[in-house]
Symmetry: D2
Subunit: 416 residues, 4 copies
């Protein structure tokens, strides 16, 4: 599990996180710090095992970001109780001196979390301010910067609205401070506008509207999303294709899960929950090749677990001669422990894409997401194994380029 | 689930089953009959969904075979309680008139089942007799015949013994009525000798010894095996590669299962159980890329379930920062319902191999087995999805040949 | 399990069921018939094992009742798919000739089920009509009659309304055809008014309002309810007191269940669900002695199971030194198979109470109910074992009376 | 959960533990220390909630004991990893200065654990030495002393042997240094001989042979045992009686569990396992009133869990009309966290018995044991709830005595 790259890429990578004080973000920051110090191996980091990929080394990844809360990262991490006391103690100095930038606050969008007052300033001013922050961060680390959205889920939007359809309409709405433009969209727009790759780990729409997908393609900025595939959906997209391979017919799939962290609390808000469940819905039919009418997905806020999370799936299948069987899967997992390494890998891949001159939606990153974005909004593939093979092929191809043409200067065309 | 082949292959296929009166065999026979009558669709038959494969149509599959018990197949099926009363009633006429041929009986090998006295006759006489039966069967149906071993597990053998190493040594032992040659080996040898493809669905060694693998290659007779991958191992070889893809480190995997059918009863015999667990052992390390010292597999004979079977797996994994998580899978399955369609598909594939002039171990059928045979005895791949893709590629390639060159006479070079 | 009473009470008992065509009712009717014919033992009937109780013998129990559907009971039972084909065939003659009386229909109360038009007639006319039907039934069987409510759940009511508080207010509302009086209340009132014991197996309020509890006491008519304790709550009230006995502190209890029968469909209606969950809520705190804030109960309509039902409970407990542990219970049950025998036992107990001259709420029957009624509306005891011991003591006391004083004429003071 | 006794008994109690360095013992010692310091409440201590019982206060309980290992208790506790780092740090000073007395070592009995050489000295010398140690301990704390056996399981013995049947035969064997007398028996004999109450938390025979039961009665010394009822059997004896109360017929009960601590390692030894499973066997039939042929109990040593333990039970039941249902219970527990408080409560109860002048087998403590001892060796009651009620009644009766007659001097008649 702890193999080293044969030729580690020693350029620096800056990850700017929206929601830097959250459980996933602080876990990513602390984990990277522990790896850098040699106190932790790379277990849980999916791409660590693959040699000779031209990705930035974990030891060269640095973090900054925004949050509504002003706590330093040590206080935030201690509060989330994801790390063990020993792990927390080891990273105390590094985390104590990190404080998030002030995030854009808009009470219309963040219902489940504390969000006392709206940020001052126009949409345009926010976009400019984000650009300045990213430019400064790139300068500090002397390398490329990627933005990852780990903020709480925003509520569902009517994405058929006119303002989301074209770049022109979106930019006009921006100028008019249109209330339909959510904070997540502001960040996504700012990134694309300033040439910074953007990965969306949340179910929020953000860059996944026609206007921004098109803009990313036009500006040739890599974007990816949305909604990290961590627990129940990961297992679902592993099992469902395997059932299909055996022609075991799924008659019903009941998925319930209980979680007690800030994410779960946000999901108590019906509108945010709708957004979340929406991104889980099509997955099953896609993996099986037929719709399952009795596919239920339930998410419950249940505090005794804190950041731990438990999923229980019951699958009713018909086998040969129509005879019924059942599979039940009980996953006792840790949300942030599953999510944090994926967020890091997404950033590393987006950096590679950017370095290779690729832009628009990087569809090959679909394995990381519950609702993979596609360049033209068509339905993505959800089959986990196929997604995994697609990613590996893309990584190998883009790493070969590197070893053939020599290592480019990783920081040369960073934030414009 | 009920797609039809665009050009169904209308030749006949005869499947001669060792253990014809067993739960899996009677389910296969009854199921094929129900499909032929249009009373059942092809749910559970893995290759039914794939169009344009040049496999013999399910409707053209016919059965014969051997058993220690003399019951007609209706009585046997009623006794196994796998089929619903309605299903049983529908196939009563067809099954009532089928009686197994007398199987070779050897008390040294079949400990868990009734096996009052040893068969009379020499090894050579048995081989000849099997050949005659297969020839007659081929004549009756006017098509190719394939043998599938569904008999109870024989106990483990010391396969390093000299007699198993070369064709010459094996044939000499045969002539000497050597007690080291088990009934399953006699059937396998007879098949290969008479040019009849042989598929081994049991954990018994049968054709999986150097002497017989070599003979099958020399005679160019397709063989495949061993030990059908139906329940717990199927799920294990689906999940383990997916855990590896996420770099989730498996620290322990505890698998227990309870079953109450004749198969379970046979496994109460320590020697047979050893054979069974042996075929389950290497699978996990193979899928993960590293050994798991705490990999336990327990099989328990527990009568309340009859042919139903229940597997419970507990998987201990470490994620990012070494933090522990658990996955538990509870599979309430039906042994014969999972196994019967695989036995049918193996036979259809072996027939195709034979028709295409392929012989020796057909490694591409590995997806069907817990302990896939390889031509040279090296370790097979156990990753379910990779095995599945391998099979599909083989089928497509061998079906393309057909549509290009025109349909050969499926029965032309049947039993020599 | 099949012990016989030493002195079986050979009088007849008539059970008139509201919802006679439902799954629970048809199972009770068919089951009693199978026992009468000697084709089934008394497994699942809680009081069958106890000798020398002066309860009416199962063989002397006869059924009639009301339903919105007009199907004969054989058609209804076949449709519910609870009985095996063999069981169904055995009772076909007896069930085919039974048809329900027309039930009172009121679209304001039965949302989830087909209920095309409201019944004609005033409240008072319905009450009279019910009285006539019960009198006739008692005459037919020559024994006491008891009414059991097995109809679909009515939606929740504001029970603080004035009309439910006193007998006078209720009777005035009755005369005025007040829409606040639900069908279940009409049946309950009619029973009490006509001296017929009434047991409420549904979560509907029915007799559980101050006015009717008082009337039952005044008229000395036994009533009991409400909401049969069959699956998840039964297990909960067994486990929770045992956790308390070990001082294991419950920090959270997550209960979810999936079911696909008519009952489940009715519960898709938010108002009916509210009624159902309301009766489940207080149970846990009562058994533990302290409230559990994270006690969640979720009910999901999920069709693949039909009448089968599955409950999954996750219990988070703290042990010594505050260390967390978890218990998970997965109950794969059959709703009607659990409910039907309880409905029969409730009727037998109510008949005994009536025969012994007891009236008002028979609190000793609490073990049968999720929300046991109490005479004065105070909180009941939910501890299953304590309830069970209370019932046994009551039965023994009331059976001793019998053997001491000689057997009374069981039918002497039936329906007035 | 943290109620205080209205009149806490402020005498001191000394608990001398056989196996003081084990996981259960160090948890008990550390837990008592944490409670004494006010850092932990009494969660998990079954008798903490009951007011006005005349038991010695938890704050006045002190420990000493024997072990084969010489580590101080802090080192031992750190090694067992049961306590959190915070808890461990809080008790470091107290535990660091405690070291076990040298335990009697006999390689014939302790197979699974390190046990390099046999203790020197005769049986009689050991008995005398134990007596001296207990007398000194009693003097130190100025209160009664009770011995609790928490050592690893000794292997099964042929208890029909002559030497175990009478006091005379046993004492003769003792004098002859008979190898049939195990270390656990030596401790038990020494306790009884010196008037010190003895509780056996292990499956070892110890005092549970006719000779020692009789001696305890003759000498009027309270003894209790054997095999603490902590996890799977606790749940089994809760559920089984509840199934019986509903006449749900148990057709099979499959219990498996995985554990990775020293106890589990000892159980890898077939003879010790036999002892363990023996004490689990009769329980089910006793609770149900009929034998269950398919009752399987499997214990597996599985290291990833360390002291954590996981039990999985599958229960097959038949309900009304013989229809099958299933209950599955998955208990993720912590062995020492469940066991330690029971060991403390047993000691407190034995002290009370001693103070009240009771001797012989104290059957009322049966709720604490998997295989409760009875005075005459007859079968005990295993029903958890009934055992619990029996204990409470005994405690109340013996506490009433106290409040009526005034508090006796708790230490007056300590070790003779």
């Amino acid at each position: 599990m702890t193999k080293q790259h044969s030729q580690p890429n020693s350029a620096n990578l800056g990850i700017a996180i929206i929601g830097l004080g959250g459980a996933v973000a602080t876990t990513a920051v602390a984990g990277t710090e522990l790896i850098r110090k040699g106190l932790q191996d790379t277990t849980g980091l999916p791409l660590a095992e693959h040699d000779q990929l031209d990705l930035i080394d974990y030891g060269n990844v640095y973090f900054r970001g925004w949050d509504l809360f002003e706590d330093d990262l040590y206080a935030a991490a201690a509060n989330h109780r994801v790390l063990s006391s020993e792990q927390l103690a080891s990273v105390r100095p590094a985390l104590s001196e990190m404080r998030p930038w002030k995030a854009i606050s808009n009470r219309d969008y963040c219902e489940g979390v504390v969000c006392d007052e709206d940020s001052k300033g126009t949409h345009r001013e926010h976009v400019d301010s984000i650009g300045r922050q990213l430019r400064e961060f790139a300068g500090e680390i002397g390398g490329r910067v990627v933005v990852i959205n780990l903020a709480s889920t925003e509520h569902a939007l009517d994405v058929s609205d006119q303002i989301y359809q074209t770049v022109a309409a979106f930019e006009q709405a921006l100028t008019q401070n249109h209330p339909g433009i959510s904070p997540a969209m502001l960040y996504a727009y700012a990134c694309i506008q300033h040439g910074v790759p953007y990965g969306n780990f949340t179910p929020s729409r953000a860059a996944d509207i026609p206007a921004l997908r098109r803009l990313a393609a036009e500006k040739n900025v890599p974007v990816a999303g949305k909604d990290g595939k961590t627990g129940q959906t990961y297992i679902k997209t592993v099992l469902a294709p395997a059932l299909r391979a055996r022609a075991l017919r799924v008659r019903g799939w009941f998925s319930t899960n209980i979680l007690g962290n800030r994410d779960g609390e946000a999901l108590r808000q019906p509108k945010s929950l709708e957004n979340k469940i929406g991104t889980k819905g099509d997955v099953l039919a896609n993996c099986l090749g037929y719709p399952v009418e009795d596919h239920l997905v339930k998410i419950n806020y249940y505090r005794p677990r804190g950041d731990d999370k438990e999923a229980w799936d019951n699958i009713d299948i018909d086998g040969f001669l129509g005879q019924p069987m059942q599979i039940k899967v009980n996953f006792l997992c840790k949300d942030s422990i599953l999510a944090a390494p994926l967020a890091i890998e997404i950033a590393r891949c987006l950096e590679l894409a950017s370095r290779r001159g690729q832009g628009g939606v990087i569809e090959e990153l679909g394995v990381f997401f519950k609702a993979p974005m596609t360049g033209d909004g068509r339905e993505p593939n959800h089959n986990f194994t196929e997604q995994h093979l697609t990613l590996l092929a893309w990584l190998e191809k883009n790493s070969r380029v590197a070893s053939e043409s020599g290592r480019e200067n990783a920081a040369s065309d960073s934030v414009a």
